[in-house]
Symmetry: C2
Subunit: 593 residues, 2 copies
Amino acid sequence: MRRSIATVCLSGSLVDKMHAASAAGFDGIEMFEPDLVSSELSPEEVVALAARLGLTLDLYQPFRDFEGVGEEALVENLRRAEAKFRLMNRLGIDTMLVCSNVATATIDSDQVSADQLRRMGEVAAEHGVRIAFEALAWGRFVDDYRRSWRIVELADHPNVGVCLDSFHILSRGHDPADIERIPGDKIFFLQLADAPALSMDVLSWSRHHRVFPGEGSFDLPAFLAHVLRAGYDGPLSLEVFNDTFRQTDVDRTAVHALRSLVWLEDQSQRILDGSEGLLPCVEPPTGFDFVEVKAEDTSDVEVMLGQLGFAFRGRHRSKPVSLWTSGDARIVLNEQHARDTVAHLSAIGFLVAEPDAAGRRAQELMAPVVHRRTYATEVPLQAVEAPDGTEIFFGGPPTSAWIDEFHGGTGTPGELVTAVDHVNLAQPWQDFDEAVLFFTSVLGLEAEDAGVELAGPRGLVRSRVMSSPLSDVRLPLNVVPPADEQSPSSQHVALLCSDTRAAVRRARAAGLSILPVPANYYDDLQARLGLDDEFRRELEALGVMYERDATGEYFNAYTRTIGQVFFELVERRDGYSGYGASNAPVRMAAQRR
Amino acid sequence: MRRSIATVCLSGSLVDKMHAASAAGFDGIEMFEPDLVSSELSPEEVVALAARLGLTLDLYQPFRDFEGVGEEALVENLRRAEAKFRLMNRLGIDTMLVCSNVATATIDSDQVSADQLRRMGEVAAEHGVRIAFEALAWGRFVDDYRRSWRIVELADHPNVGVCLDSFHILSRGHDPADIERIPGDKIFFLQLADAPALSMDVLSWSRHHRVFPGEGSFDLPAFLAHVLRAGYDGPLSLEVFNDTFRQTDVDRTAVHALRSLVWLEDQSQRILDGSEGLLPCVEPPTGFDFVEVKAEDTSDVEVMLGQLGFAFRGRHRSKPVSLWTSGDARIVLNEQHARDTVAHLSAIGFLVAEPDAAGRRAQELMAPVVHRRTYATEVPLQAVEAPDGTEIFFGGPPTSAWIDEFHGGTGTPGELVTAVDHVNLAQPWQDFDEAVLFFTSVLGLEAEDAGVELAGPRGLVRSRVMSSPLSDVRLPLNVVPPADEQSPSSQHVALLCSDTRAAVRRARAAGLSILPVPANYYDDLQARLGLDDEFRRELEALGVMYERDATGEYFNAYTRTIGQVFFELVERRDGYSGYGASNAPVRMAAQRR
């Protein structure tokens, strides 16, 4: 289907927006009136630029406060509309979005609104344009798409149809199934937006917090399936008012936006056709293949991995890269192209059933491809770059052949660390929604519905976990407060242990210093949970933290930070599925000391 | 009265917070439990540090989910409470905040809650501590302070009283007048916070958007007057959960916080005593004395002021400073200590009835004093620094004697520019609330209840106007989006004209280039307002923008930007009192080109 985007989704001038939409691969744009009004380009120049860029101009929007008014106001509104129809003729745009009246409506009557829209339709027809009537979620009288459709039905004019906007429908909890009762050719336009579940007035929610499909809590695939079943064949168009996208890089936002539409179309097609979608179908990853830490000098990390019970598995045959393993946990230390960098998380490998299909899917979702030099006899790896720059590799099954490229290992790993439990990735505030969509669409991970907020010494850290359906893969994404972006304390690898206390004892014996935990923490823990003295003393002596909830128990401990990376030892008992959130503020305060 | 602050208001570690509170001049702190739990200091070290810093430890908080539960849970809750009472003994804190139950309450009964609080009071008494019961705005059953007081009355134990929090009371719209019915000695603690009017769930509102008194929309002076009339004589304590203060400079926030309490106490005393307050009473300014633009080389600004019809009034007798005037508008150009700076707004002088009293008041509100060297025979000026670094001078009446220090003026000003209409100051996002409080408390300006949001090409610009009661002084404060902080386009001086079109004609004839306004703007203006063709052509030819509302008309035009400053010519007709908000997005887009 054709893909379109409202210019209001993007930052910059109208010219910037059009270039970015075209470069990302959109077919058309919705012209948001204020963007045109602020532009130095004449309507004819806009038309010429759009033609050069291969963009169609799909909608002129918005026209406000038209219907439900007295006769005198209606005449004035028709004059105002006709001036815009003439402008649309200059722009070659054939559809205008007319929102339900918010400010000036005085008459609450389907018949009056229908009569007035019919009169507008007659004037529109003289100018060869159509009007798409939309029920705003906060319309004075018309705030439900079923009512806007009833009015359009009553208006009964070929140039009057409805515009459907997923936000206005789903934010009010209206059932989208009734869309299928609207004839497809009377749905003149479709606007798509997602949004997080927030309890606030719907106008502010709409104006500031919309996100692209796949990033919020609305079921957009089901919504779109209803619209397609109704027979709609116009463009799928994004209209996302978002404070962040308005101020960040326009080219990047446009790609991010298009990715959401490609993903959404794929998901909806699968609903309609049973299984066949647009994109190569891939199962979510079943585990971590490896985690890579990069630094000019990785020797401090090597020492720490040894203390944690990892064994040196070998050096890569052609690159300055080494592999350390314990159980199914594989840590790659990479010194290639790492001049002047301190230790940081540079790549994550995921185990997937079909690495090639996963790589193709990622590329069709416009994930930037990572090129790493491979030599003739080596295994070529499929890899793309996540929004935060972390490289994402697809390997398996069951484990990857690349391991055989490492030689010269010594020693035997301990048995306490058995796997990578989760990897925490710090996200700059402006990339967070994009990261959620990336891991949803590219890897098939699912976001927890709402995140949690952790109080750090330099601000609240928002955390939202992306995980595979069976929780084999868990990626907590942490949004660092703007004033604390240089802090490394939100990025780490959590290693699953069979026994955290034993692993800490072993690591301490090998010389590792565990992050110190204050006595006040243990006082509070004991007061909260009524722990016996001996258990409390054991935890305190080791620096192991503890959480208990209705499902089970969590034992964890942290290493000190090397460069920007630290490790966590975690033990989950009886199905505990959290991340020790109550411990995080204590950990962040300790790291800052 | 004694002044206190909850540690949760401030960023950093507990030690950072205590140092900042002490340095700002607070008498005590509320110990927010997570800050203690995260701290490496033992309770005894905290006590010793507080003693050295001259801080009392006024409250331990919060204790959650105590009452309204079954017997088994109550026994567990009493055990948990007793552990905290022992900790409070170590800390020497005699009052604990107990919030109404949110999560575990199962019994909705005043009598049951009262019986349970009495049992808690008995245990507390054994440890010499008191419990202050607070109705959270989102308590499961107890969410109204009148109910928490009824329960405390029923509990009838000397160690059980209420805690009142302005947010929990005013956010729910509960009448604070009933506070006067509570005996003052049963109000064990008072927490103060303001908040902007927002329509969202009260929990999120409380956790993220509280601000210091004077910065939001609650009537805190009236609230506090009720509490004082009840006979409360404990500390005035701030409890402000705010996402920004959590991540910004702790010392600065502490001063900002204390300023809000000093202002609030002064305001409340005036309510109680008729007129006598804590601070020197000053009337709000009656006009702009001058606006100063600073740069290493101010010659471009000189040329522009000449084109705008200003006359050169003279050079300062001892400094590289010149004065330009037109009507009551006085622009000072300052090249002193300006190495490597481009033109920027550096100071604003206000006309006040008693400059010395205004200066003293500002100093008592902890505004940093500005020292400018004055020579023997020159007029010493009272000046302080606003949060964004702009220097604020107090002069008059009726105009300041400093003008006589300028000599050698030539020429006669035009008659079209008559005064400074308003000065727009750009504020970094993290300083906005502080700026509102500064101009409220120091200058006696009032903030518009809600701000407006202007869509710029690099994000939404939030704008809130501070003005004097008679609007002689207007200061729109603009919050620049984080990604656009380097943009100069939100800082300017608006000059009031008797006739903007004539002033623009004169300026153009003198060679000034007016900011170009696109034809699309005039197309839209004509469509919206039904302007006749001739009027539209006149505006368009001049680059003058136009706004009309129910009260009157606004004509304005902008100069190009020099360094970080530009000028606006404005004409107000028939009592128009806005700022041409509909034009601002067009202006910002044009400035970016």
